[in-house]
């Protein structure tokens, strides 16, 4: 009971702290909306299938930056400011701090994804209720792999290096994952790199769930994603222990 309340308080504090950082909050929510508004709705000019297809990609895109920066790079900054050390000494269970940060990232991504959904609806995108829930839900679930990858960066690098690398990985995931521009419009070697990014597999699943692509290879995409997330989680645990040792 006490442990549960500690987790809840930690999450609340982290969400509050994120909420009060508009310089992080606004770009995290506004960037995917702006991109989708221009590329998904603006350029499609009433062709709803394009807007529909792009929505599937942008819900994944919306998760990358908050998960990698808000969760990953922010851990590096808080470590550098020596905020974490006192929490490791205080009787806060080891997972409490990370759960708090993850909750803050999830809350932010939930807002971004929900607003994207609303924008798409106003832009004329229509699908079944369960497809809406599945597509937006997958965007939210995409937080986990990106957050774990970001955490590895945050625990292994200094704050400036972590921000720079997170930026690079963020751009690579968006581009090579085919989230900005469909892979079909890109040279073939793009597709080969895409296989190694979680964003590509998430994008594929998202397109299937939103009904713009038939269900195929689901098991392969899901197992690759699980393997990537698990590998990142193990890597993060090792880094966390080394920090604590």
């Amino acid at each position: 009971m006490h442990t549960l309340s500690v987790y809840v308080r930690e999450m609340r504090a982290q969400i509050l702290a994120t909420w009060r950082t508009p310089q992080f909050l606004i770009p995290s929510v506004a960037l995917p909306l702006l991109f989708y508004g221009v590329m998904g709705l603006g350029l499609s000019k009433g062709r709803e299938e394009v807007a529909h297809f792009m929505l599937a990609n942008y819900v994944i895109f919306a998760a990358i930056a908050p998960a990698m920066f808000g969760f990953g790079a922010a851990v590096a900054a808080e470590r550098e400011a020596r905020l974490i050390e006192l929490k490791q000494i205080a009787p806060l269970p080891a997972g409490g701090y990370l759960a708090g940060r993850l909750a803050a990232a999830l809350a932010l991504i939930a807002v971004a994804v929900a607003l994207l959904g609303a924008l798409a609806w106003f832009g004329g995108v229509r699908m079944d209720g369960w497809r809406w829930a599945a597509t937006l839900g997958l965007g939210l679930a995409a937080t986990f792999p990106f957050a774990m990858i970001g955490l590895n960066i945050g625990l292994r690098m200094g704050s400036q290096g972590a921000t720079a690398l997170a930026n690079l990985v963020f751009l690579a995931f968006s581009l090579f994952g085919g989230l900005w521009i469909p892979l079909s419009a890109m040279p073939a070697w793009f597709g080969k790199i895409a296989e190694y990014t979680p964003s590509y597999h998430l994008g594929q699943l998202s397109q299937m769930l939103s009904g713009v692509q038939p269900m195929a290879d689901v098991q392969r995409h899901v197992s690759i994603l699980l393997a990537m997330t698990l590998a990142a989680l193990v890597g993060a645990l090792i880094a966390w222990r080394r920090r604590a040792a």
């Binding site: 308080r9 504090a13 006192l86 205080a90």
Partner: protein, 309 residues
């Protein structure tokens, strides 16, 4: 003393800890009992912060044992009875003082009332201020409030008053004394010897990762023979140590401190050799003189640890 007071709050036994190429702790022993305030003194690099890191579970000993309330210092239950003020820990800029103290209270099973923690740390009127908008001294007071928030049985204060003004410093001392009075044990590291003298009932001097002296402030001072003569003089250190009965020479800015077993004998020679002697005072050796002298003697002889009392 009650029977429970024999159970140590914190214990380091024959601890060895390597940090990089240097041996930070080399067979260190330290026992802290309930209601005791121990000041850990020594030059930079003596092993003070490593000792603190071992007792707070941030480091693990390479050899020997570290215990907190009889348990591994990493155990959640042991950590729940400890409050810590680190030397340079940060605060979240966007949370208010009240929110941050409230958050830390929540980590403990039987915390102090929020208002009490705020009052003891002298933070009244700043509760709604964001931590990022506080001055350095005010941030230190928030750190103190966080250390007190859980009503700890063991308080670790690592250079607690750095950056604080005189009032805040006195306020902290008063609060620490009240904690000791209710049975809380305190481990204090500080560069201010007056702070150690004001709070500690036991002084442990360490150097090169070993204890070189351990006793009450009076016992430590009595280890330094007699009297301290302070003055300005143009004599060199070598000439000064050659004066009658001088046991130690140290310089602080333009002033020299001579430790002597007989002030009259030393003064007669000093005044005869240097007619320009100025700003002359004679006083009993201070704790600072004693610690300086002990560290110097330890470095010169690197003798095995000597225990007082």
């Amino acid at each position: 003393m009650s029977p429970t007071s024999s159970e140590p709050v914190a214990l380091l036994r024959q601890v060895v800890k390597r940090r990089g190429a240097t041996l930070a702790l080399n067979g260190l022993d330290l026992t802290i009992r309930p209601g005791q305030c121990v000041a850990l003194l020594g030059p930079n690099g003596a092993g003070k912060s490593t000792s603190v890191a071992l007792l707070t579970g941030r480091l693990r000993p390479d050899g020997g044992d570290a215990f907190l309330f009889g348990e591994d210092p990493r155990a959640l239950a042991a950590r729940g009875r400890m409050g810590v003020m680190l030397q340079d820990a940060g605060l979240p800029r966007t949370l208010t003082v009240r929110e941050q103290v409230e958050l830390f209270r929540g980590y403990y099973t039987a915390p102090r009332p929020l208002d009490e923690a705020i009052r003891l740390a002298g933070l009244e009127g700043l509760e709604r201020r964001r931590c990022g908008a506080l001055s350095g001294g005010q941030q230190r007071r928030v750190q103190f409030a966080l250390a007190l928030a859980g009503r700890p049985d063991f308080l670790v204060l690592d250079e607690p008053t750095t950056g604080m003004d005189i009032d805040a410093r006195r306020g902290l001392w008063t609060a620490v004394r009240a904690e000791i009075a209710r049975g809380c044990a305190v481990l204090l590291t500080t560069h201010h010897l007056d702070e150690a003298e004001a709070l500690a009932d036991r002084i442990v001097v360490i150097d090169h990762g070993r204890v070189i002296a351990d006793g009450t402030p009076e016992q430590i001072k009595s280890r330094v023979s007699g009297v301290a003569i302070r003055c300005r003089t143009r004599l060199s250190d070598a000439e000064l140590s050659g004066l009658a009965r001088v046991t130690g020479v140290s310089r602080d800015g333009g002033k020299v401190t001579l430790l002597t077993t007989s002030a009259p004998a030393t003064l007669r020679e000093l005044l005869a050799r240097d007619e320009t002697v100025d700003d002359l005072t004679v006083a009993g050796a201070s704790l600072e003189d004693a610690v300086t002298r002990l560290v110097e003697a330890g470095a010169a002889a690197s003798q095995p640890q000597a225990k007082v009392a």
